[in-house]
Point group: C3
Chain length 320, copies 3
């Protein structure tokens, strides 16, 4: 595994939450919390990254995540360039590195990388000059660390703590980077009970999500949960692997108001978006009083500001 | 119809010019006029929108209009993000709203929305938080309010007034948001005579463009006009509805120097662009001394600055 | 040929290096050198172009060149807008000019234009208002002037001089704008010997590259060279014109460590990127100690800052 920290222990890259200590996670959450503003308030704006350049390098489209990183970087005073690339698999690693070295020579200081396959962010992190940082914005089904942080921050805000809670993650766990990063964050932060709930074919392998209870029945998985994290399901996976069409999926695993009543009365509902309304979640729940989905988005830009500010601080040669 | 004003009467959204009073239109034109600079002069640059974020959300491509709004926002000091989305019709409204709520949670303050179908800007305006404003950058064949304002400003600059003029709008009136917004602006601002000139199949329905004289003969429609506004014609509409090929269209409805002589000697010629040279307008006219087409573009960025400055002023919570 | 200079002799456009004097080239290189910073240092940032707007107008995709110009302009304080256009050949010139006039009316001061065919940058330069400048970012197989400047700057940095050197350019010379601009720069700057090395079908016509020695044997062309400039080869050209597949091309014209030993021991290797590793260049050479490829990229942004600062200086009405 690529080292994410510098010799002095400070965070240089953020590729995964796995291996970050509780203290490190909490420091990032605290820093992010300081960047949170209520809807309608002016967002924080600082010159912390003035003179630095952030490149968003996305090989799979994700407008929302790109805009979240873009605004986070701009509000810290950085210059931002966006690159969307379609790379053929055969030459992906090599072409990605040539592009990265080009951008590095143009004085890009931080790379934000999103890729549909595993391995590219670590390859880039292992190759760039010492003053350069790499942030994953979603890597295959492996990791989506800023999503895991914003999920943890949202739970902490709404429930006042993470320790001792029961959290149910529902949907295509097997292929979900969101579930993996949530697991890494929440396990380290002391969640009491983490449940993964899915059709049998979409549950993770036995060597993963250690310590999590596994459910193939949604109603059992929801019972007395404090937090319900719904995942986006892809149509092809439903049909090919879970042998369910969208209507059948909704009947078996869709979150409705009625089912939500099985969780604790003050349970919150989360979703990483984009949602398939009427497939994995009913609109009445997505837009209902227990939904924390919009808080997640707002926290996303705060988390990305915190991560950018952390990796690009004094340890970064370019800011010296 | 969605209300465009706040409780105190100030403008919050701009979705249509229909219903704006003469005083309101003139205030916008006056404010825009103050942002106009001659070609070659440095454009105005202010910090009026510093700390605010403007999102250009375009579901149909229009590079020129997007750049005009983008530069208007940047020159007012705002952060700008551009999103081009292809949304399938079936889920458009829902996906658009989820995207808008995401951006709102990222502290976007003003949405500039362009869509090929009617209804989306009003849907968004009815859904966003009270501190957020929505500007239409073109909505189906319904409305293009900043285009209507820049057309009115161009006429006022070149002719010294709008009241009392004879204006001929020529082309595919039936499907034109440009014609509708020009009608709303010019009728309210006291134009003496507004003529719509088109092949019979492209004239508007009888319940629209009330008070306008209708012509199916270009030469009759041009006679003694002060202003000739040409519209872009789409190849498919020509062939399918007007039963004319491009050459036949030009022979019947193309504006040539010879025909322009039927208008007043000091008549001006306008076009919203992009032009089909040799179809609805001859190059000699587009580039000739009576053409105000480049003034329209220059006025466009001034009008968009004025509208942004107006909706985002003190009434906007984010600026407080 | 379009004049590139103003009446006072100052540079207004940069479309080609052909015809620039040694003094003019050296002034641009000196100005660029002042913008060069080592990797990891903060790049220079000035307000020299504050209030000016630069439009990148690319009709063929080139993310790296676009980002290089974009960062150069932003670091000089300019506003930047990016436009990628697909224009059909039939209406290209006309549509390009309508777009350019639109942008000019939006107070764009500098156009950076990239086009796969010859003629468009000169057409635009001949048409814009006197205060507007046009920079070519690559024009067909004709010219790529900022690439020629960054190549010259890289040689000057690494070899201490250009005068008296032996430079071999290897690859598809016939279709290469990079080779043509290198030739114009290096010939004027007093290179001793310029060799073009290619399969017979890819050598230039006899009326071009005057004074250059022609080689169809790579090893002969490399002997005792001070600088080896490799060009990117396109798969179709290899197969259709040189009658070589990628492996056969590499065997005949690929630069390996072994072949590089034929050049001077301190020879440097250059490539304009993107590279086809294993086709025109071996990875061991591209990433080896004699490679100056990353210096070229770093110098690229410095050269583009120098060119922007030069054309947009006092002679530019918009800065007055």
């Amino acid at each position: 595994m690529t080292r994410q920290t510098r010799a002095d222990g400070s965070l240089r890259h953020l590729l995964t939450l796995e291996g970050l200590s509780r203290r490190e996670l909490e420091a990032l959450l605290d820093r992010a919390q300081a960047f949170v503003r209520p809807l309608g308030a002016r967002p924080p704006s600082t010159g912390l990254l003035a003179g630095l350049t952030v490149a968003n390098l996305f090989t799979e489209p994700s407008t929302r995540t790109r805009v979240s990183f873009e605004l986070a970087a701009k509000r810290l005073g950085a210059d931002v360039v966006n690159l969307e690339m379609q790379l053929s698999s055969r030459i992906k690693g090599e072409s990605m590195l040539d592009t990265v070295f080009t951008l590095e020579s143009l004085h890009v200081d931080v790379f934000v990388i999103r890729d549909a396959e595993a391995g590219v962010p670590a390859l880039v992190a292992a190759s760039v000059a010492p003053h350069v940082s790499v942030l994953s914005a979603g890597e295959g089904s492996v990791s989506h660390p800023t999503q895991g942080l914003l999920d943890a921050l949202t739970i902490r805000q709404r429930k006042g703590r993470i320790k001792g809670l029961a959290v149910a993650i529902v949907g295509d766990i097997r292929h979900s980077r969101v579930a993996r990063s949530a697991y890494h964050a929440l396990a380290t932060l002391g969640v009491a009970e983490l449940r993964v709930v899915a059709p049998p074919a979409l549950l993770p392998g036995d060597d993963e999500f250690r310590g999590c209870a596994r459910y193939t029945d949604l109603e059992a998985g929801l019972r007395d949960a404090d937090v319900v994290m719904m995942l986006r399901i892809q149509r092809e996976r439903m049909l090919d692997e879970a042998q369910l069409d969208p209507d059948a999926y909704f009947r078996a695993f869709g979150l409705t108001s009625e089912r939500l009543r099985l969780a604790k009365p003050d349970a919150i509902v989360m979703h990483p978006q984009p949602m398939n309304r009427g497939v994995e979640i009913a609109s009445e729940v997505a837009d209902g009083p227990q939904s924390a989905i919009r808080d997640q988005v707002r926290n996303g830009v705060a988390v990305r500001m915190a991560v950018l500010a952390t990796v690009a601080r004094a340890g970064n040669g370019a800011t010296a």
